[in-house]
């Protein structure tokens, strides 16, 4: 997708006018968020577990080189191949070359935010490959040529009627109204593709350094199909997804599904260790793991923002964010939306400047930090990003007018006389500007400010006492 992270204002206004989307967002609030909260209330020692998860993620990041090398060694030992991709183009090229050299025709894909991030589908389709997203939500948005609007529920913005219509137009489906029927139709259509696919592409929720395992969570079964039936399995993941051992995985595994959907465990969790062993009846003959940087090492180098890389993509911060729950995912203008999108997009996107308004798409209410399973201090990072954009030439200086206004306000607010004169003048001028101030967040000011009331009272008191 073409990134447009600078259009939050216009896209979010559009979102507010879409009643279906607003209904869907209410659904997220009332269901996903409520289920997450309930799951954590039931989990004994939830706070300690979050703290443990934070420690594990920080530790893995502090020794990222060590763990990636260990991971590579172990994946290789298991018969898999590890590839390194320093940017999106390099990752696309790797997959492309694999597809060509192995004579691939049909590719089935499991939901992967990283693959959205690098724009893999367009590339593979341009090569003439038959590429199909198999997660029901991803399949829907692929057919509609849209971007995911939620990390966990990519097609959450579409109604059943819109989906049924899409299936009719693109797939020749009969008229359907029941989600059961729509899902069954998708199952049958996609099953045929699975059975003839040569290559399965997935992301990875975690990769375990000590055992070379790729860990995948899902509820539908499409990821299992993508990794069980085709002869090739390619997993693409960000370099930050590595965890040291099973022990560490056991902590994160308890937190991810609970944070994402309120489930104790997703329906299917696959721990995949290399390609099919001799004699095993199914599973891929070849396993490839692509480790993607694409800006992540820049975040790692930035001590103020490094903790952004702890993120395990659960989506809990989206589901609890008052702004996301009104604006929806598309307003954020790229693959990662919600609070974590406002954190990641400015740091990952090529043209940083274009994302300068995203750190303002938050009230800094702190709800996200309360639910984050790895305790990322999202409000702190967003405030820090605002400062980078305002002050750091490497991030592009803020518009001159804005800078001037802040400087002026600072001057007024530090000088009592200036402040009081400004107050008086503003009260006098208000009748002139009032009609134009429709967007002003406040009601009109009081007739007399506190300071003048107090000094007036003090005078009266003094007078009364006859001093």
């Amino acid at each position: 997708m073409k990134p447009c992270p600078g259009r939050f204002d216009s896209l979010s206004r559009k979102a507010l006018e879409d009643p279906h989307l607003q209904e869907a967002l209410r659904g997220i609030d009332e269901r996903l968020r409520a289920m997450r909260d309930a799951a954590f209330q039931e989990l004994p020692g939830a706070e300690e577990l979050r703290e443990q998860a934070r420690r594990i993620r920080d530790h893995a990041l502090d020794h990222l080189d060590t763990y990636l090398e260990r991971l590579e060694e172990n994946v290789t030992r298991l018969g898999g191949t590890v590839h390194w991709a320093e940017d999106a183009a390099s990752a696309r090229k790797l997959v492309e070359e694999l597809a060509v050299s192995r004579g691939v025709h049909t590719v089935v894909k499991g939901k992967s935010m990283v693959s959205e991030e690098i724009g893999l589908n367009d590339e593979l389709e341009a090569m003439g490959l038959d590429v199909v997203e198999t997660d029901l939500g991803e399949y829907i948005i692929q057919l509609a040529h849209e971007a995911p609007s939620h990390i966990v529920g990519p097609a959450i913005h579409k109604t059943r009627n819109q989906i049924a219509e899409l299936f009719r137009d693109k797939l020749g489906a009969p008229h359907m109204d029941d989600p059961e029927d729509i899902a069954r139709f998708a199952r049958e259509t996609l099953r045929k593709r699975f059975l003839r696919a040569d290559m399965g592409i997935t992301g990875a929720n975690f990769v375990v350094a000590s055992t070379g395992a790729v860990v995948l969570f899902e509820n539908e079964g499409n990821i299992r199909l993508s990794t069980t039936l085709p002869r090739l399995h390619v997993a693409i993941t960000g370099i930050e997804k590595v965890v040291p051992t099973w022990e560490d995985l056991s902590v994160l595994m308890q937190l991810l599904p609970r944070s994402a959907t309120g489930q104790k465990l997703s329906t299917y969790v696959s721990l995949l260790m290399g390609p099919r062993r001799a004699g095993e009846p199914d599973g891929a003959d070849e396993f490839h793991l692509v480790l993607l940087d694409n800006g992540r090492t820049n975040i790692l180098a930035d001590e103020e923002f490094r903790e952004s890389l702890r993120c395990i993509r659960c989506g809990a911060c989206l589901n609890t964010c008052p702004v996301y729950l009104k604006a929806g995912g598309h307003a954020y203008g790229w693959v990662y939306s919600g609070p974590i999108g406002s954190v990641l997009t400015p740091q990952l996107i090529q043209d940083r400047r274009s994302a300068s308004t995203l750190p303002y798409a938050t009230t800094l209410c702190g709800a996200c930090a309360e639910v984050c399973p790895v305790k990322i201090d999202i409000p702190r990072i967003l405030t820090g990003l605002r400062r980078r954009y305002a002050e750091d030439p490497a991030w592009g200086p803020a518009p001159r007018i804005e800078r001037g206004l802040f400087r002026l306000a600072g001057t007024i607010l530090r000088d009592r006389r200036l402040y009081e004169i400004t107050g008086r003048t503003a009260r006098r001028l208000r009748p002139i500007f009032e009609p134009r101030l429709t967007a002003s967040p406040f009601p009109p000011p009081a007739e007399t400010p506190f300071r003048h009331m107090v000094s007036a009272m003090a005078k009266t008191e003094k007078g009364g006492k006859g001093e």
């Binding site: 008052p322 303002y360 009230t363 800094l364 605002r386 607010l413 406040f442």
Partner: protein, 239 residues
């Protein structure tokens, strides 16, 4: 006891009654209240917009105004949080100011927090006739951990009909510069809040943070909803 009453710019300009209420209540408890008109803004809007230079300048001025070591009490939770939590971030390389920041952080209190936690007072002998609900501002509840205190104070007000609303701890949508940049979203969030207050049968929304209350007041007017907002001090002072 003698304290400073910090009346930040929004209270000063938009809701001076909240300041007067705070002043009267403190005095009625036998506390000597100092107010300095030199003190205007704690620097929060600048800090949150990444304008660290201006934030430092205003923080320096605040530290100067309150350098005498007396407790500072303010009816504005977000300013208290700014000073308590963020001032020290502003002066990492200035040990003198860092020390003063920490010292001030340890003796600045949000109004209801000061009454309940420091003075141990909940019953002010106040009375207020009305159906009241409380909005837990994010900076107050999540930031300062203050949410029982205003409820404890309200529970002792004669004739007051307290109505807890759904999601009282959800953001009102103000968010400072956020509502200036994205006013439509800010409005939409505030709308939910007003609807929750109406559903609770309240006609007054109160709280410990004036910016949220002003934002909600404006939204209630926009919707034509029979809701007005009063700062906690205004209610405790008798409305």
């Amino acid at each position: 006891m003698r304290v400073h009453l910090f009346i930040p710019c929004l209270v000063d300009q938009f809701r001076p009654q909240a300041g007067l209420g705070a002043q009267r209540i403190l005095r009625s408890l036998g506390i000597r209240v100092d107010y300095t008109p030199e003190q205007i803004c704690c620097g929060q809007p600048f800090y949150k917009s990444g304008r660290i230079k201006e934030a430092r300048m205003l923080a320096r001025k605040t530290l100067q105004n309150y350098r005498d070591g007396r407790p500072v009490v303010s009816p504005s939770g977000s300013c208290v949080l700014m000073i308590r939590r963020h001032y020290e971030e502003l002066f990492p390389n200035e040990p003198h100011l860092l020390r003063r920041s920490r010292h001030l952080a340890a003796r600045i209190y949000e109004f209801s927090e000061f009454l309940v936690r420091v003075l141990g007072v909940t019953d002010l002998g106040a009375s207020f006739n009305g159906k009241v609900t409380l909005h837990d501002s994010c900076q107050v509840r999540r930031g300062l951990g203050v949410f029982q205190e205003p409820r404890a104070l309200l529970s002792r007000v004669t004739d007051l009909d307290f109505r807890e609303m759904a999601r009282s701890d959800e953001c009102c949508g103000f968010g400072g510069i956020f509502s200036a940049k994205y006013p439509r979203i800010a409005e939409a969030i505030a709308r939910d809040k007003i609807e929750n207050a109406l559903a609770a049968g309240a006609s007054i929304v109160t709280g410990c943070e004036i910016s949220c209350l002003l934002h909600l007041e404006r939204q209630a007017r926009r919707m034509g909803a029979p809701i007005r907002t009063l700062h906690l001090t205004e209610i405790l002072d008798g409305g």
